[in-house]
Symmetry: C2
Subunit: 536 residues, 2 copies
């Protein structure tokens, strides 16, 4: 398997100028106010939240920016832009809030950044049918707040909820923290409006007959069409939320409990099992620093991320490591991957955080049953504390990540999934493969009757940019090769992007990848949409 | 909208001979024992269980039979057959047990009937991962029995369970009677092995990244590839099964209760609400004829339907009307559609049958909660009786259907689905549209948080074959036009076939249908697979 792909870089100080003629021609079609061509806007549009970018930024490098950013306000304008780009053979990269962490919206072939955040209207909310139709650029957190005021919820709570859009969730097959109860985005999706690479607007629903063509666009990361709106399932807001924590003598016993819970058909909204090192940090830090009380933290609400130059270009937008205590514990020690991995190997006990939610009666019955199952595997009931703390801190995404990179380390997260019988072997295989290159810890979450996701945090040495990139790429290659060899998925909810492109064949199979390529030719005959991603 | 398509017919006494040269050439490739060319086999392969066939049979007519039946025993043989057919430009119609009720496996262009029932091995059962891999030709009932012996269940219980195969379920997007808890076949499907129209064998899993190409084949009714194996989700067999019945003063109140149950996230495996006429028959007939006791009926177990000439060609294979008492009540009166529809309009009270199943604790809590919800809508608790009777009779499919057709009536069933707010308008619209042509009754089932299915039974006059076909086609056209106008699905789990082909555009949208057609060209470039179905 090839490794993490090289990305061409340019100096941020000497980025190539945009295509002024192209911008002028497009301004004539859509209006001047739909176009941005400033160096700042183009620089920001040259990256997403792929942590590898933070290594580039240390050398003040960036991938080549797009020629211009197009900010349409309607599906007709999106179609017009795509027809325009098709006439001229110009690449178009559709994007939402660009909080992807795999480089999925990098501009490998210049052209137009299609910023869909101007399409952010809620077209309809139907509390009877428990359905919403919302445009693709709507940001997650304000949308969820609006629904909460009506006693409703999407049930979709990605850590990036304040940094991501509906369209991005669909394009990357996202999952929220409560996916064990409400499902991943593909379980929530009822319909889509998409502008194909032909410029044609297509509306698709979940069919009861014939092929489900909606599923072509789920996870398609902009290579087939630009998603402009989605119909999503809604749920009544839960009557009760019952948090809980259990401590187990070993990862093995904890995983057995978790598996039994989901095999039995129980559906806690959250089931997060921390591996021994992650548990040690979580329990230790919480005991030392955190009370149980206090309100639940809110995610930073910033509906529009593109205009915040004072915050810097990328670092403040958030990152993927949760919990500031964890970062402090890691900081300064993360270049010592080998000894840390060895030390972590001596730890044993594991924390399982559960949250049950739903109608009061069933939820209490469900919580009682998980308690019995945990007890059956030797789990010590820690009461509500760990679950309450997790709920309170669930949005506490880190704003320290750039500092860690500046301090000579890199950090990234890798989420894979597999079926129950293979979870422990997969965990061991990836730990073993990555250990020479980075420190590794993990939690197990997004459980489902047939399996769960493992969410690894890797951190490695970056005394120089070059050495950082070397250990970063080596860690990822080792992890994804191991995942593919174990028959696991290569991602769970972060998507593919540039980072995992070479491993997509392992996910879809050779036949599946060929079919996707053929589908790409059908939907985007001129290959203008997000070229260079997913398919060869 | 065009009406129900015409199907070319031939006299069964003077069916055209098969293509002997084709049979000889294929026998050379696959072996003589893989080919059937007898008039009996070809006659049987000329139809499925589309009730319209029974009108044709009254005149001893049948659609043109295939040239030959091919019965491969392995995926390699399937691929070989498809390559063979492609070389010669011969049509291939993949089929399982041919219990489809919409003409989906009729041979509109002659060629080869690809009987997949020889691929019936269980490749693996993994009780840990709760997964099974099984070949497409495996019949439903023996498979479920085998799993039950291991404390497992597929959770997929179509009325046709003894008459249908795994591949057929997937190809037609089937649903079982317990779909409200376990999901439709698309919710159960984890992976597929398919031989495309190119002869290429493709293995697809549910991906976590990229497009879900599996969904192209779900509901594709053999136009893209021949399904040769499926990986399906398993469930632990339920600890308890709690049947119940409630009587409501009106359909409206009963539907409100049903909606509230599913909105609240409760998941009874069975929720069947009978409309007033269906309730009158069900309660009346049960009170008169049935005790509560007695063992649950087993479905007729016939693993191989193709060799039963003594049973007649079609009639004894089963049908879609459940409950023999219901048939007796209807028989002889069904040509009086108008007065019966009027009489039915004077009835009011409705029966809701519920079955809760799963782990004992939650299931009891769930049953208590549905009881409270039903009471809140004025539902009278009828105890376990109605639910127990339903469970006992759930497989009592009718063997009387051909007699009803011979007696001068026709009967068919039409299942559509919509979201909760639209269920009653849809019910009224279809009743109103069909009433001039046929007697109509219905039940509401396969409920889901966002809606449910309505399962209509139509019965109309057929004093002659010609007049029967006229009222049959008029009823269907009226029903499907009304469904499309109401924004409902045109089917829920019976598929499209020939019958509903003209309405598929209403289901997929013009853009969706065009995408499906383009996908067909990718997967089956020579258009040999089930030609004339689904796409123009």
């Amino acid at each position: 398997m090839a490794g993490v792909p090289e990305v061409p870089l340019v100096s941020r100080k000497a980025a190539p100028p945009g295509d002024a003629a192209l911008a002028a021609a497009l301004a004539e079609r859509l209006g001047r106010d739909r176009i941005a061509t400033t160096p700042e806007a183009r620089d920001e549009a040259s990256r997403d939240l792929w942590p590898r970018s933070l290594l580039w930024l240390r050398a003040d490098d960036t991938p080549p920016p797009p020629d211009l950013i197009c900010r349409p306000r309607s599906v007709e304008e999106v179609a017009e832009l795509i027809r325009f780009a098709r006439e001229r053979g110009v690449a178009v990269v559709p994007h939402g809030a660009r909080s992807g962490v795999c480089g999925g919206t990098l501009h490998l072939h210049g052209g137009v950044a299609l910023d869909l955040r101007g399409l952010d209207r809620v077209r309809s909310v139907d509390p009877e049918r428990l359905e919403i139709e919302v445009e693709a650029g709507a940001m997650g957190w304000p949308l969820e707040q609006r629904l909460a005021a009506q006693g409703l919820t999407l049930g979709h709570f990605p850590s990036s909820i304040a940094l991501s859009t509906v369209g991005g969730w669909v394009a990357a097959r996202g999952a929220g923290q409560s996916s064990s109860r409400y499902g991943k985005i593909e379980d929530l999706l009822l319909g889509l409006e998409v502008v194909l690479g032909t410029g044609e607007v297509v509306r698709l629903d979940r069919p009861a007959a014939g092929s489900d063509l909606l599923e072509l666009f789920l996870g398609s990361e902009g290579i087939l069409g630009a998603i402009t709106a989605a119909r999503l399932r809604l749920f009544p807001a839960p009557e009760v939320q019952l948090p809980r924590g259990y401590r187990f003598a070993s990862l093995h016993r904890a995983l057995q409990a978790m598996e039994e819970i989901f095999h039995a058909g129980l559906r806690p909204s959250v089931a997060r099992l921390y591996d021994p090192f992650d548990t040690w940090i979580a329990l230790g830090a919480h005991a030392a620093a955190d009370g149980d009380a206090g309100p639940q933290l809110q995610p930073p609400v910033r509906a529009d991320l593109r205009t915040s130059p004072e915050r810097g270009s990328l670092g403040r937008k958030g990152a993927t490591l949760a919990g500031s205590a964890k970062k402090q514990a890691l900081q300064g020690a993360l270049s010592l991957a080998r000894p840390l991995n060895l030390a972590a190997g001596t730890l044993r006990s594991c924390l399982l955080v559960l949250v049950h939610e739903g109608p009061a009666g069933e939820t209490r019955a469900e919580a009682a049953r998980t308690r019995a199952i945990c007890a059956g595997h030797g789990g010590t009931d820690l009461g509500e504390g760990p679950g309450r703390r997790w709920l309170r801190k669930r949005w506490a995404v880190s704003y320290q990540l750039p500092k860690m990179f500046d301090a000579g380390t890199w950090v990234d997260t890798c989420e894979v999934a597999t079926s129950w019988g293979r979870v422990e072997p997969l965990y061991r295989a990836i730990r073993h493969a990555v250990a020479p290159h980075a420190f590794v810890m993990a939690h197990f979450s997004h459980a489902w009757p047939d399996g769960c996701s493992i969410y690894f945090t890797f951190s490695g040495p970056a005394p120089s940019v070059e050495r950082g990139l070397r250990s970063y790429d080596a860690a990822w290659r080792a992890a994804l090769d191991a995942a593919a060899a174990e028959g696991a998925t290569i991602t769970h909810h972060h998507g593919v992007g540039v980072l995992k492109g070479p491993w997509l064949e392992a996910e879809l199979g050779a036949g599946g990848l060929a079919l996707l390529q053929a589908t790409k030719r059908v939907c985007d005959p001129d290959g203008i949409l997000n070229p260079g991603k997913l398919v060869p």
